[in-house]
Structure formats: C-alpha cells, structure tokens
C-alpha cells in the first residue's frame, strides 16, 4: 500500500519535467531523472492535498507505446484541449504572444448593448410569444384589440429590464476599470533592479513583478526571490480558496541567490498551459545552465495577498483571463427552478389546446361560410359587398377567411397560455424573498447577517431538495479549533477555567496572544512551581512540544493601545494554532519564528530554540516531528501525531501505565467529540544526533527518492519516544448543527459532506455532528489508481448487497420494507480516489454505491471535484441538489447545484457572491428548507396550477360563445374585460395567496420534518393535478356559459348584458375556487379575494358607463332583474360543487400528511394526548 501512495514533499523532483515538450533548449539529458521514477508528488503540508495527475506528462511517451500509468487518460482530460504544448517564458522579457493582464467581466459595450440585450431578453420564450401576438394584432384584418394598447405592456417590460441591465453592466465596467488600472512594480526592461509602477492591464507574461507585504498579486507568478534569505514567502489565499491561514511558498535557492546578489534576471521558464487547477503547477526553469524544477509551492496566484514577507519578486507566467482564479470563476450558470421547467411541459400541452381550439373555430367558420356562400351577399348581418363601390368588403374567400379566423382565434384565446403568470411568479418570489429575509429565525446575531435571496428565480426549489452537499470548515464548524483539555504523563487536566490569558512583556510592550484558552489552575500551579522536580519538568516539556512542534508563524499585530500588541498565530493547521495558543495560555509563548530558530517565552524567560530538522506530517506516518536544539545545548526530538502512530513508537516497557492512562483519557476525549493528538519527546544523544544529521542532510539534498529517504530518516529517529501526554481539541461545531442534520435526515434529505480536510478529521466531524454513528457500517474508498478504485467500488457494492440481503432476512415480512434498512451505510471517499472516479466510467459505480449509502463523506476534495460530485447526482437523478458552503473553494459546487447557499461567515465573500441564497448559519437550513422551502413550493405550485386553471376557464367561456356567433370570434365580454381578466380581475388574489398563504405552521413543519416530502414527491404540481385542474376549468366554463345560455335562449337579452354576466360569473367562480383552497385566511387575503370581486364589479360598472361603447348601461340593466342574481347564484354553486365534493372526499378519506397535520393544528387541544405520544413514531 505504502508504495502506491504518493509521497509528500515540498518540491517535486524532476518527474514532472517535460522531456518531450517542444522547447527551444533541448534538455540536458544528464540532468533529467528517469521519466517514471516516482508518481507525481504533492506537498501535503502546503494544502496541496489533492492528488492531481501530472498534466505535464503526455499520456503516451514517444516510442514506448501506451503508458503504464493508470492515470494517463485522466491526465489528458485535465489538460486544456488535450494539447500538450508547454509555454516558454523568458524571465524578464514581456511576451506579447500570451494573454495580457487586463480582465473584462462586462457583458456589453455601447454598440452591442441594444442587439445583445434584446437578444438575451427574447431568449425567454414568453417574450417571443408576447411579441408574436402583438405583431399579429397589428394586422388590420386580424386586429382584435387596439394597436397601441397591445404593444405597451411588452415595451414597458423590455424597457425596464434593459435599463436595469445597462446599469449593472455599467457597474461591471467600472469595477473592471478599477481592477485593470491598479499599479504594480514591474522590473524595467534592461535594468538589473529598477522597478517601475505599471498598470495591471499592461503587465504581460514574462514581466518580473515586485510585490510588497499586504499587496495583492496582479497575476500568477513564479517566485524568484523574497525578502527572507531562505526564499520563503507567506501568502493568504482567502480570495482564492477561502482559507484564511497563511500558506508558505518558496523561491528556489538558485534564483533567490541570484537576486540577493543582484545578479539580475535570466533564464527560461517552461510551464504547463493555463488550467483551472489551483493546487497544481508544473514547470521548470533553466537558469545558469541548470534546470530547476518548479512545483505548486513555487507559484503565487493572482488574488492572493502577500503577508508577513517584506517583499517578493516573481515572474508572471499567467496573466489576465488565463490566471487560475479567472479560469475558476466561470460565469454563474443560469438557474431555473424545477417548477418553471415543469411548467414548460404544461405550457406545451396548453399550446396544443390553443391550436386545437383555433383550428376548431377556423374550420367551423370555413364550413359555415361554405354552407352559406350563396347567401352571403344579401344576408343583412354579413353583406359581402360594399354596394357603393361594388367590391367585396373585408372578405377574401373561404380559404383566406379560415386563415384569418385562425389568427384572430390565436389572439382571442392567447390567455390560455398565461403570460402574466411569469410576472405573477416573479412578484410572488419577490414577496417570498421579502418574508424569508424578514424572518427573525434566519437572522444571525453573531455575524449580523440577514438571510438574502440573491437569485430570485428558484425560491420554490427550496421545497424539493433531496440532497444537501455541505462544506465542512466554516459551514458545519465555526472554523475555530479550541484546546479543551490535556492529559500529561497520565494525569487528566480537563477542568479548565477562564483565566485572563497570559501576556509577555517585551521591552515596554505587552504582547498578548490573540486567543486565550481556558487553563487548568492545577496545571498552572504545577508549572509555576517547576523546580528540579521531575514531574513539572515533563509538564513544561509537554508545553514546549506544543509550542515548538509545529509550523506556526507568530505575527505581532498593533492594537489601538500602543502599549499592547497582539500575537496572532498563523499556520495552515488550525489544530496547531489551537495548540500554540494553548501553550501560550500556560505561559509558554511562541514569539518569533525565522527559518532557523524559534523564540519561545518560557514563563517570562525568552529562550531561543534552533530548529535543526523537521519531519513534515504525512498521512502514512500520521505524525510530525522536529529536532530542536535547546538553549541548554541538548538536542530533543518532539513528536506529535495520531494516537495509533505515536503509541507504536514508544518504549512500551517502561511507560506502560502512562500509556494505559493516556489511552483511557484519549478514549474519553474522543467520545466527547474532541480531536486528539499525542505528544512525545525524546532526548537525542550527541552521536544519535550526528548520525541523524548526516542522514537528514543527505536525504534532503537527494535528487532521487528524496521522499522515501526522508521518511526512513524520520522513522529511524522517531522511536523510543517518551509519552508526554495527549491533547483534546474541539473543532467547534456551529450551533445546532447535529440537530439540523438530524432534522434534514428525517426529512429524507441526504446530507453529504465534501471537505478538503483529511480523512480522519472528516470522520471525526462526521461523528460530532451526528452524521456518522457507531451503528453505521463504513465503506472507505481510499485508492491511488483506477484499478484499485474499481476494485474497491465493486467490492463495496457487493458488500452492500450482502448486508442488505442479510438485514432483510433478519426482519420479518415485506410489510416492514422501510424498516429493513437497519444496516445504515456510510461511504467515505477521498479526493485521490475521486480523481480516478469522476469523469470516468467508474462514476456510475460510485453513484450506485453512494445512493445505497445513507451518509457520504468526501474528504480532500478540490473545488472542481466538489462540483463533480454534485454533478454526479444532478445528472443521474431528477432529485434536487443543494450545495452549501462558505469559502471560495465551494463556489463551483454552489454554482453546480440546483440551489446554492453561501454562508456569510468569516471567510471572504466568494461563496456568497456565487450563491443563490446567503445566510449566517448552517442550522438555518432547517427553517429555510422545511418551513420556507415548503411554503414557497406549495404556494408556487398552487399558484401555477391555479393560473392555468383560471385562464383556461375564461378562454373556454369565450370559446363556447364562438360556437353561437357563426364562428366569427365575437366576444360578448367587452375587450376591456378580456384584457383586465388576467391583469386585474383574477391576478392579485393569486399573488397575495402565493405570498401569504401557509398550509401549516412553522412549528408543525419543524416538528414533523417528514412533511417536507410533499415537495420531494412533486405532490403539489404534477400532470395529474394539471389534468384535474383542466377538467375543473372545463366543467366550470360549461356551467358559466350554458346556464345563462339556456335561460336566455329565447329572450331579448343583448350581447353586452350577457357579456357582463359571462365576465362576472367566471371571476366569482375562480375566486371562489381560490377561496376554497386558501388554508389560512388573514385580513389581507380576505381583503384581496373579496376586494377583487368588488373591483371587478366596479370595473364592469365603469366600462358600462362609457357611452361610446355599445354596452352602455347594460350591467345596470341586467342587475336590475332578479333572474340575473338567481343565475349568478346557481352558476357559482353548480360550478363549485364538483370541486367541493372532491375536496371533501379526499380530505376525509384519502388525507395527505399535510391535511392531517392541519387537523392536528386545529384540534391540537382535543388530541393533545395523542400528539405527545405518537408524533415521532417511526422516525427512529
């Protein structure tokens, strides 16, 4: 196994050298190591935790056929366009052949704005439909409505949107300009060390740039030299991957020396083509006739900030849009809500209905004309000819009449496709967004962040989520490691109390560590008393180990008080930070670190410890160690690591009882959910040290197999360790995370954790947030080649089947099918394996396996892999996915998922910017999904169906009338009422109901997470419901039309009067239907529903008071007859009876969960006994 794993060192040996890249300088063969000596190497300590195949190596080596390298095919994919050309950069010579450093995020220019914007707007099908109808209406033969009036609405919407877009783009232009015009110091051409300011946009690949501390890097650069003599630079990558800690980057000694001697620049750099992998970089530099290989630790990326380093000089290798950060910021894909997508299906059905109705009307019109064609001339109501001119008047023959009738029918019946629905939906989403933002339960006090809807078109998706993909750090946890307790030499010190912290006096300044840790008073006392006693000395050693055995860089920060300074520990591992802070709280304060030594303030006494050697952490050894030269001239080895790893190297015989006691404490700590580390120490004799030093130096300068050599050196020295003790660190979960995850799980939402963390960390977090439990069977996929991945996947699948089979035999009967899944499986995959699985045929296997498992944890995943995992589910199922994260490394996943949520936490704003919704805490996911998501979904689903239904009712009423007008598309209803029907008569109540109606209380929804299932199952919007609604529309339109028809069949009724009845009756009917379906009547809803009916009546009064319209006075006249009122009553009752019967029947005899929950709310007092006993039944 060990030989398969990539070994981890900071610099990669020449394995990555492109021996066949066309380079102007053929490589000197002698300097090249054998091509496939080692797998590509990564520096784990440097957070390049993701195994990325060497993109530099071609899949096939010339001459030796298919490569044996299993990752060859994925390598090819990794490379942009499969082109294996590298780019050659002459250091110090700006090269115009590559992209410049200017960036452009704006979409339009002055010239392209109008056409492009219109094009984009008309990509919405509804606008096209709108336009087509408007154009049709302009034809004089076809015109149904007034010309100007029909253009106005569309023009208005287009104009407002265009203005909004223009303003947005203007803002983008401005920010682009600001970004492009920032200044950077660039080495002037032809000089040796003169840097001149240059605008960012003029920087080119090959420029040598000097960056000072706290400046942002303008482009991706390979470090050439830094202010530190050893070539170390620290960068903060918060804009890039969301991690706030400092990362160490190195300039190569070869270039560092050159610059420190002011020897100027030179050399040719060959690097891979621009790609999006921010954790990978392969290049080599030819300098002074030598070839130096460069890895990811030698490059600093655009967007990072230089920290704690006075200056750094680098050569630009990628600029502008080719920088990794720009390549990673692929534009947010447009998201559409699922309902909106489904709605298209119904729209198509309705289009067919529309075409059907138009065809029927026009064909019947044609038949009528044919039957009467001889009579048309003298028929008073037709009169084909104008007798003064003798020409046909507005008559073009039967064929043409059919065509014209068809077009007119389209205009008259167009409302059956509810265009206004799109506007209503947006208004509803607006209201929903307002209420989500106003919800006090979604407000985070600590970060003072409100819930924000950033995308306004997917509110209702929140009610249909089946998969939640969560980031770990900062999302589930607070990203704050806190030292909790220690076991030292077998004694447990876990009764920490708040102390004021500990400060160090330096000159006349007081240096205080940024974070104080609760200190155990007993331990503090013990430390203070440290005399010659053995015990306190070892306690001191323990804390020295904590302070020394790490890679923490202490930063001294100014505070407002000039006497006070803060010590901020920066490092890549939050655990190490926590340990350093802990040591500081006990008085052992790490104050300074240089590349050769560290200064520790030991209880007020500043001491210098030389760091003689460091064995970095790797996940095989699971420990790290430092060799320290102490002030008393002794040489000590401090080691810390996982318990299993340290206990293996203790001298068991002498310390058995201590080991036992420590083990017991460790068990206690980890059961409390703490992350544990064991610390050990060994004093080295002079001979041992010298022996080690020789080996260490040999190993670290070795060209071949450096990693293995270093590991064996470490293994040699890390033995016979004395156990100093163990630590317990709490990775503080955010408030309510375990409860939130439990709720989500009960709601049948699968929670997957995707983290860049180590596997052990991920698992321990999994336990502490109750995602993983001890009853679960864990399947770990942790492989290093495609074959082994495949093997493990197949094995795992087989195991799952076996377990399933076994468990189903274990339980009795098929009745309890849902209970058979007692064997819960947890899948743990790591990023290395995912490299071989994602985007290969193994994906399907992983998908099968993952869907079998109730919990999935992915560790050490790169940003794009996170997106890949989301895509894995998204592309294979219809299930809705939600991604939640807080860092820039979550951006791709947030954009990939159906719903992306950004946590507005400490880490940058990248995730929030890319998200659809942003909020302050992970636990808000529960009210967001279970309450607001549920409400939004059921409201929106109902509103869409209702809009289809109400427009269909109206159009059908119009259609029935056409059958009695010789198929000439006369509408008895005035054209004003026709236009107002969708706009005013029926739209407002649906919008208000869509915003305000709630099927269930917040408390009920939270108490019964399973109620969320209605959204997941598409209970509220599906074809069946659509058909049901259409049938209701059909019945109601028949009632509305034919009851008056039969009553007034042989009477003096005039068109306008009957038209008013036919306008008023459907308005009342559809509003009654709405009223029947409203669940919660508050005064606003009352006002809108009844107000709308009143408003309709008023509108009819107003329209019939306009004397120039033929219908003048009709409504007053007809309302004066008793028959009218009796008709209205019977129409409404007849129309509503089927709906009422259906509702009464299903609600009583086939109640949905929601219905029962509603009854529970209403009769809570009556059924209280039941409530308290049964509700959580079956939820485990």
């Amino acid at each position: 196994m060990a030989s398969e794993r990539p070994l981890l060192v900071a610099t990669t040996p020449g394995a990555s050298t492109p021996d066949d890249a066309p380079s102007p300088h053929p490589p000197a063969a002698s300097l090249l190591p054998p091509a496939q000596s080692e797998p590509p190497l990564r520096a784990d300590r440097l957070a390049f935790s993701v195994e990325v195949p060497d993109p530099f190596r071609p899949p096939y080596r010339r001459g030796d056929g298919p490569a044996a390298d299993p990752s060859a095919s994925s390598q090819q994919r990794e490379r942009e366009g499969g082109d294996d050309e590298s780019r050659g950069v002459i250091v110090g010579e700006p090269s115009p052949e590559f992209a410049g450093n200017a960036i452009r995020t704006a979409k339009y220019s002055l010239l392209t704005f109008l056409p492009r914007n219109l094009f984009e707007q008309f990509r919405r099908l509804s606008y096209v439909y709108f336009l087509a109808i408007t154009v049709l209406n302009q034809l004089p033969q076809v015109a149904v409505f007034g010309r100007g009036a029909s253009v106005l609405p569309l023009a208005f919407v287009l104009f407002v949107t265009a203005v909004k877009d223009a303003y947005e783009d203007f803002r983008r232009h401005r920010s682009d300009r600001q970004e492009n015009n920032r200044l950077a110091s660039v080495l002037a051409l032809g000089t040796a060390g003169e840097f001149q300011p240059k605008r960012w946009k003029h920087i080119r690949v090959g420029d040598v740039v000097r960056v000072a501390s706290n400046e942002t890097l303008p482009a991706d650069m390979v470090l050439l030299a830094t202010s530190d003599p050893t070539g170390v630079a620290h960068v903060q990558t918060v804009n890039l991957d969301g991690e706030t800690n400092l990362k160490t980057r190195y300039a190569k000694q070869e270039t560092q020396v050159r610059f420190s001697q002011n020897a100027g620049v030179g050399g040719i750099l060959h690097c891979e083509r621009p790609n999006r992998n921010i954790y990978g970089f392969q290049a080599n530099l030819e300098i002074d006739g030598k070839r130096v290989s460069l890895g990811p630790s030698n490059i600093v990326l655009r967007g990072c900030e230089l920290k704690n380093t006075t200056w750094a000089i680098g050569v630009v290798v990628y600029a502008g849009k080719e920088t990794k950060v720009m390549l990673n910021s692929s534009g947010a894909p447009s998201k559409r809500s699922r309902l909106e997508t489904q709605l298209n299906r119904e729209t198509v059905i309705l289009s067919f209905m529309l075409i059907g109705m138009c065809t029927t009307a026009s064909v019947l019109a044609g038949i009528w004309l044919l039957n009467h064609r001889r009579e048309l001339e003298f028929t008073q109501f037709f009169r084909e000819k104008d007798y003064t001119t003798g020409k046909n008047y507005n008559y073009y023959g039967v064929g043409m009449q059919i065509f014209i009738t068809f077009l007119m029918a389209v205009i008259v019946y167009q409302v059956i496709i509810p265009i206004s629905l799109y506007i209503s939906m947006e208004l509803v989403r607006l209201g929903q967004a307002y209420f989500m933002g106003a919800d006090k339960d979604l407000y985070d006090e600590s970060s003072r962040s409100k819930f924000q809807c950033r995308a306004l078109n997917i509110n209702e998706d929140l009610g249909q989520i089946r998969y939640v993909f969560s980031d770990k750090t900062g999302t589930l946890t607070e990203n704050k490691m806190v030292f909790q307790c220690a076991s030292i030499r077998g004694v447990d010190y876990s009764s920490g109390k708040d102390t004021g912290g500990y400060s160090v006096v330096v000159g006349d300044h007081l240096w205080t560590p940024k974070m104080a840790v609760k200190a155990d008073p007993q331990l503090v006392k013990l430390l203070r008393d440290s005399g010659s006693n053995e015990e306190p000395k070892l306690v001191l050693e323990f804390f020295l180990a904590l302070a020394a055995c790490n890679t923490i860089v202490p930063l001294v920060l100014d505070t407002r008080d000039s006497k006070q300074k803060l010590i901020d520990y920066q490092g890549e591992s939050p655990d190490e930070q926590a340990l350093a802070y802990a040591a500081a709280s006990y008085g052992i304060v790490l104050v300074e670190r240089t590349s050769g030594y560290i200064v520790i303030d030991v209880l007020g006494d500043r001491q210098r410890f030389d760091i003689l050697g460091l064995h970095e952490f790797d996940s095989d050894r699971k420990r790290m160690s430092v060799i320290v030269g102490c002030p008393d001239k002794t040489v000590k080895l401090y080691v810390k690591g996982a318990d299993s790893s340290i206990f293996g190297i203790t001298n068991n015989s002498s310390e058995l009882d201590i080991v036992r006691a420590t083990e017991a404490h460790l068990h206690k700590y980890s059961s409390l959910g703490l992350r544990t580390l064991v610390v050990g120490m060994r004093e080295l004799s002079r001979s041992e040290f010298e022996e080690w030093q020789l080996a260490y130096e040999n190993a670290s300068t070795a060209v071949l197999g450096r990693v293995n050599l270093l590991r064996s050196v470490a293994a040699n020295i890390e033995r016979n360790v004395h156990i100093l003790g163990a630590t317990g660190i709490e990775d503080k979960l955010q408030d309510g995370v375990p409860e939130a995850i439990e709720s989500l799980r009960q709601a049948d939402i699968k929670v997957w954790i995707l983290t860049g963390d180590k596997q052990e960390t991920a698992i321990s977090i999994g336990y502490s947030c109750k995602l993983l439990t001890n009853e679960m069977t864990q399947i770990v996929i942790n492989n290093n080649s495609k074959e082994s991945c495949q093997r493990s996947l197949v094995e795992a699948l087989a195991t799952t089947k076996k377990l399933r089979a076994a468990s189903s035999i274990g339980t009795q009967g098929p009745l309890l099918a849902s209970e058979t899944s007692t064997v819960t499986l947890a899948l743990i995959v790591d990023g290395n394996s995912l490299v071989y699985i994602l985007e290969t045929e193994l994906q399907d296997e992983l998908f099968k396996l993952a869907t079998e498992c109730s919990v999935v944890l992915c560790c050490r995943v790169a940003p794009l892999q996170k997106a890949g995992i989301v895509a894995l589910i998204k592309n294979r199922t219809d299930d809705m996915t939600l991604a939640i994260g807080d860092g820039a490394n979550d951006v791709s996943m947030i954009q990939m998922a159906d719903v992306g949520i950004g946590i507005s936490g400490q880490e940058g704003r990248q995730a929030v910017m890319a998200s659809d919704f942003s909020m302050g805490q992970f636990r808000f996911l529960v009210p967001l999904l279970l309450v607001h998501g549920h409400w939004n979904y059921q409201r929106m689903a109902y509103m869409i169906l209702y809009n289809f239904y109400k427009n269909a009712t109206f159009v059908l009423v119009l259609f029935w009338y056409v059958l009695y007008t010789a198929f000439t598309l006369t509408t008895a209803i005035t054209e004003w009422s026709s236009l107002l029907y969708t706009v005013l008569y029926t739209s407002l109540p649906t919008i208000v109901v869509g915003i305000l109606d709630k099927d269930l209380n917040k408390a009920t929804l939270l108490a019964y997470p399973k109620l969320y299932g209605s959204g997941q199952r598409d209970d509220k919007y599906n074809v069946n419901l659509f058909v049901l609604n259409m049938l209701e529309a059909l019945w109601q339109s028949l009632a509305v039309f034919y009851l008056p028809y039969f009553v007034y069949r042989l009477s003096t009724i005039d068109m306008s009067s009957l038209g008013d009845l036919w306008a008023l009756a459907p308005v009342i009917v559809v509003n009654m239907q709405l009223a029947m379906d409203i669940i919660r009547w508050n005064w606003i809803i009352h006002a809108f529903v009844w107000g709308t009916i009143a408003a309709t009546t008023v509108c009819l009064f107003v329209i019939d008071s306009i004397w120039v319209l033929p219908g003048y006075g009709a409504i007053f006249h007809i309302m004066g007859t008793g028959l009218f009122w009796f008709l209205l009553l019977i129409i409404v009752v007849t129309a509503m009876v089927p709906h009422f019967v259906f509702k009464a029947f299903t609600e009583h005899f086939r109640p949905s969960d929601i219905q029962i929950a509603r009854e529970m709310e209403k009769f809570a007092n009556v059924n209280q006994v039941n409530l308290s006993e049964i509700p959580m039944r079956g939820l485990s």
Partner: protein, 387 residues
C-alpha cells in the same frame, strides 16, 4: 448616499424582469456584486471599493429584522377545515335554499302565458320567397288568427323573434358608429361603419353601419275579437339609451337610400333618441335566435279570445334561411316563460340534498378522527389501518 441600485448576478439578466429590478431597488442588495473579478484588490479595500454599503455596515446599528406579526407571517388567521359537520351542513343548506327557489321559479314560469306564432313560412308563396320579399311593389300584408289559450294579464309584451340571424356576427356588431349616434357634429365619424358608410350622394349615412341598415321592418296590427287594440310602442327601449346614447338632436340622413335596402326606413324628422325601434334593434342580441320588444298591449286578453294579427311581412330573412315569429307574453319577475332556471335549481338543490345524505352515510361507514397522527403516512405502516 442614494441607495445604489444593486447588481444582480449575470444570470439574472436573462430572467430579469420588472419584479427583479423592483426587488433590487427595494432591497438595494447590499454586497451583491457580480462575482467575476475575485482576484481583486485586497480584502477590505476591495469590498469597500465595490460596495459602498459594506462600509456602512459597521455604522449601522442593526439590520436585524424587526419583529411584527406581519413580517413573521403570523397574522391572526382563520383556518377553515372541511369537517364532516361543515360538509354536510353546506350541502343541506344549499339544498334547502335551492329547492324552494326552484319551485318558485318554476311556478312563476308556469304562470306566464306565452303565445308564439311563427309566420315567415306562411306569409310568403312557396316558390321564390326571396324574390317575393325583395319586390318592393307587392303587398306583403298577411293576416294570422290565433286563439289565446289562457287569460293574459296586462301588460302583454309583443316581441318579434328572429331565428338564425347572427346579430352577434363579428363584422355586423362592429359596423356602427356610436359617436355618430349621439352627436350631431359627428356625422362624419364613420370609419367603423363599412360597408354601409356613404349614401348615393357621397355624404355619410346617419345612422351608418350594418346594424342600423338592417333595421327590422315587419309591422303588426293586432285586434282582439275583431276589435282593434292599441299597441303601445313608447318606452320599449332602455331609458339610458334614449337619454345618453342616442342624440336628441341627431336626425337620420341618407338612410336606406343606397342600392340595397337592408330594412326599415326612418322618419327623418324624428331625432334618433325617439326612434325607439332603432334603439331596440341596435342593442344587438347575444344569441342567433333572439326576441326584440315590439310594443305592449295594456289591456287584458281573455281566455279563448280570437287574436287577429295583420303582419306586414317586409323583412328579408329568406335569403339566409332565418325564421320570424310573433310572440305575445305576459310578464313576471322571472322575465319570459322559461322553465329552465326552475328545473336547474331543483336539480342542483336535489343533488346537494342527495350529497348531504351520501356524505352522512360515508362518514358513518368510514369515520376518521381528525388530526390523528397515526394516519400520517410514515406512521401508517406500523399501525393497523382502521377499516
């Protein structure tokens, strides 16, 4: 500082609409900048450069949502449920209400005495009906005798009923000029009146358009038991039409003097507001078979009285195969004689009573405790379903 109109993400552009812009305006989305240039200036300065509101953030006291019943969606509300009691009483109520209404309507309709006499077939020679009707010289009077089946109380309405005449035909209803009807000066406003716009002299026709042109021109002279009775033709049109819609200073001009006579002629000395037959006619009928008020008889007619009607059969319904009938009818609150509404009420009422009974039985057969959590789908499988 004016609230900046915030920026939505680029993809909002395509879905953009009024509502989105509105939302942006209302909320001026703090920190809603398009993400693209992430590699931008250092942390804080960047944020402040891009978004002025970010700076305000610290100074703002609190952006915590204010609590109110409205914002928390906790307005007091009534939550009606369709409990068995409500369902049954609703059906009962409807039934109890509807059956009497139905009976009342039915009896009202039964009391109406209606005499319908179709005369278009009897008043023309069998051959060449169209020729006959188009010939202006022939005498078209036609005498019909009817027996009154039942005592008819005054006022007795006289209608003419025309069948298969599409007064709601699209090209017909549009062919009128309402402005012209009202204002003397608006005689030239004839653009909608095609194809009946100008008279032979080229001057506009008043009233123009097909509707006026096709004015019905059959007349009825009625005598009961050989004794002529007066037909009151006053106030047969709507008062509102006479007052507002038809001008009292607008006189017919050029009317019915074109190549083709559509129907009745108008007395050019009477203003339009007094031409009640025209006003009635121009209130176009909703359905292809319709009645229009011709006049009123203000005396009772006894049972078995002999009614003699002399019809001037002028109106041409023969060219399109329409029918004509004379209708005499007494009045009641329900309008004309029509059993349909009564039957409909009885049917719906009866059906609701049946449904009430049906649901009573259903609820008795399959009772269910409302709000019993054991009926929740995820609880159901573990409990016995009560049958």
């Amino acid at each position: 500082m004016p609230p900046p109109l915030s920026l939505l993400r680029p993809h909002d552009v395509s879905s953009g609409s009024l509502a989105v812009a509105l939302y942006a305006l209302l909320h001026h989305f703090p920190r809603t900048f398009p993400p693209p240039p992430p590699a931008s200036p250092s942390g804080h300065s960047k944020a402040s450069l891009m978004d002025p509101l970010e700076m305000q953030d610290d100074s703002k006291k609190s952006n915590k949502p204010k609590y109110s019943k409205f914002t928390q969606q906790e307005l007091p509300a009534c939550k009606p449920l369709l409990t068995p009691a409500i369902v049954i009483s609703t059906f009962l109520l409807v039934g109890i209400l509807f059956v009497p209404i139905g009976l009342a309507s039915l009896s009202a309709s039964q009391e109406i005495v209606e005499l319908v006499h179709r005369y278009d077939t009897n008043c023309v020679p069998l051959a060449d009906k169209v020729g006959f009707i188009q010939d202006t010289k022939t005498d078209k009077s036609c005498t019909r005798t009817l027996t009154v089946p039942k005592h008819m109380k005054n006022p007795i309405q006289i209608y003419y009923q025309i069948g298969d005449f599409y007064q709601n035909h699209r090209r017909y209803v549009k062919s009128r000029s309402d402005k012209q009807l009202r204002y003397k000066d608006a005689a030239h406003l004839t653009k909608d009146c095609e194809p009946e716009v100008y008279g032979a002299d080229g001057a506009p026709i008043v009233p123009c358009g097909l509707v006026a042109w096709s004015l019905f021109n059959d007349t009825y002279t009625i005598s009961v038991n050989k004794k002529a009775i007066e037909v009151n033709k006053k106030d047969i049109a709507w008062q509102s039409d006479k007052n507002k819609k038809f001008g009292s200073d607008v006189y017919p001009r050029n009317f019915q003097n074109g190549n083709l006579i559509g129907g009745a002629k108008l007395n050019e000395s009477i203003p339009l507001s007094e031409q009640e037959d025209l006003i009635v006619w121009m209130r176009t009928a909703a359905l292809p078979t319709f009645r229009k008020l011709y006049g009123r008889i203000e005396t009772d007619i006894m049972e078995n009285d002999q009614l003699t009607v002399v019809i001037q059969n002028n109106y041409n319904t023969y060219s399109f195969g329409g029918s004509k009938a004379l209708v005499l009818s007494t009045t009641s609150w329900i309008g004309g004689k029509n059993n349909f509404i009564g039957v409909a009420y009885l049917t719906v009422g009866g059906f609701c009573l049946f449904l009430a009974l049906f649901f009573v039985v259903l609820y008795m057969i399959k009772p269910r405790t409302l709000g019993d959590p054991s009926f929740l789908s995820w609880n159901r499988c573990t409990l016995d379903y009560p049958n």
